[in-house]
């Protein structure tokens, strides 16, 4: 299935993307390696989720190309794009579970859609996937009965149901209590390792992300401003990276949103 072992799984070249008049990406180049956890970091609103949607073919770039396993995603016909998506899994920030069916059926959903497995085989597979995320006992619960962390783990079981080559995690740590956060921090690299998959992790939770990532890209103002291993980023001399990694309130990203002088606003001209 792999094109060859050393080529990047996702190759992004000269990516440009705008939403209305707001420029989200202005010439992004990125190589996402195979079988590694790659993190894409940046402050809120820099287009990290948009990047995942572009990789998943849910959005089209204005310019540039994105290749997945050697295939140009946006040159594919709809039918081929859907076929390609069977090799990707995505964990949405909200979990995106179907609310009218229970946990078991949510995980079984992609298997029922894309395979002709017998009921007993399907049940065994679903239970194994749920076991991997520690929620085999929650199979009969409805999504509304799950906590945020549990919903994300069910969504993760669903994302790995078809044994994809790659999983994209959209802000997996946001809004999680410390225990759920710890579970996810442990689950993501172990799944990556056990199933030989590649992971793209989009997050602004610096500590957790740097703990599990093999490679990190930092984006800001539509461009990749820094990249490297977590150690390289810790030692980076770039002011922007320092501010982001250390969580400094002021720096290249100013504390104040652009505004006229305070005196001017308070006293009038």
């Amino acid at each position: 299935m792999y094109e060859d072992d050393d080529s990047p799984l996702v190759k992004i070249r000269n990516l440009h993307f705008k939403r209305g008049s707001k420029v989200i990406f202005a010439g992004v180049d990125m190589d996402i390696p195979r079988r590694k956890v790659t993190a894409i970091m940046g402050p809120s609103g820099t287009g990290k989720t948009t990047l995942l949607k572009l990789i998943g073919g849910q959005l089209r770039p204005d310019q540039g190309t994105i290749e997945f396993d050697g295939e140009n995603i946006h040159a594919l016909k709809t039918r081929d794009l859907y076929k390609l998506r069977m090799r990707m899994g995505m964990l949405f920030q909200s979990g995106a579970l179907l609310t009218d069916i229970n946990v078991f059926e949510n995980v079984a959903y992609p298997l029922r859609e894309h395979t002709d497995l017998s009921d007993s085989m399907l049940e065994r597979l679903v239970l194994l996937k749920l076991e991997a995320v520690g929620l085999r006992g929650a199979r009969d619960l409805m999504p509304s009965e799950l906590s945020g962390g549990m919903a994300r783990r069910v969504a993760l079981a669903r994302a790995i149901a078809l044994d994809p080559m790659m999983i994209m995690y959209d802000e997996p740590f946001t809004g999680q209590d410390p225990i759920s956060m710890g579970v996810l921090v442990k689950l993501i690299p172990s799944l990556n390792e056990a199933a030989h998959i590649s992971s793209i992790l989009v997050s602004h939770d610096v500590r957790e992300t740097l703990e599990i990532a093999d490679m990190v890209f930092v984006i800001s103002n539509g461009k990749v401003v820094d990249s490297g291993t977590p150690d390289e980023l810790h030692d980076s001399s770039k002011q922007w990276t320092k501010q982001f990694i250390d969580g400094l309130p002021d720096g290249p990203v100013p504390f104040h949103y652009p505004a006229p002088e305070l005196e001017e606003d308070l006293l009038g001209k």
Binding site: G56, T78, K83, R85, F92, S94, A96, L97, P110, L162
Partner: protein, 262 residues
Amino acid sequence: MKSITNFFASLGSNVMSAVQKLGRAHMLFFQMVMGMDEILRRPSLLIKQLYYVGVLSVILISLSGFFVGMVLGLQGYYTLSQFGAEATLGVMVAASLVRELGPVVTALLFAGRAGSALTAEVGLMKATEQLSGLEMMAVNPVRRVLTPRLFGGIFSMPLLAAMFSMFGVLGGWFVGVGLLGVDDGTYWSQMQTKIDLHEDIYNGVIKSIVFGVVCTWIALFEGYDSTPTSEGLSRATTRTVVHSAFAILGLDFILTAIMFGE
């Protein structure tokens, strides 16, 4: 001068966004119809929607039909009795119902009950990323979610309109025959003689099918195209009811002119 320029700029931008929206709505309709094989492959999807869209509207439609029929019976009796023509009450009630009130009032009630529910459901699925989730599971959400709902609406509407008319005729009978003393046999026999299968009933059915297509299409498009926020969803639900009402009344005039015009 600047305000005139601004006026034309905003007019142009509004017209452009309206045309773009119309284009998106037609594209979506085309995609939903092209996904028809999905409901042939999985009839259970359609059956589920027939239940949610159709069966759950039955009580509302039946009761409304009965009350409208009662009012028709009452008003019709007072007017017709002035000319000594109360024997034709059955024809008047039935013709009003199967030609006009059945399809139109059913469609208006459908837009308010099932249409707004469809918009809210699809809009919420969008806001909670369920539609994106389906896409990323390599499942086309238009074919899987929208197409069964569209055909559920199209098949339900004529059946609901028929029920509305049936209960309306019974309501008219209850008031006319039961309370006001019109002859029972005359009520039914006049109706049987004068109501024409092609002219009255078929035309009413065609109207309700057209209303079914338009109402469900508007509801699904508004949900699918909504801004995924609470305000966006609330506006989309309102637009569904308002646009459906306008579309039903406007199309009713056009269809009536085509069907019954000289």
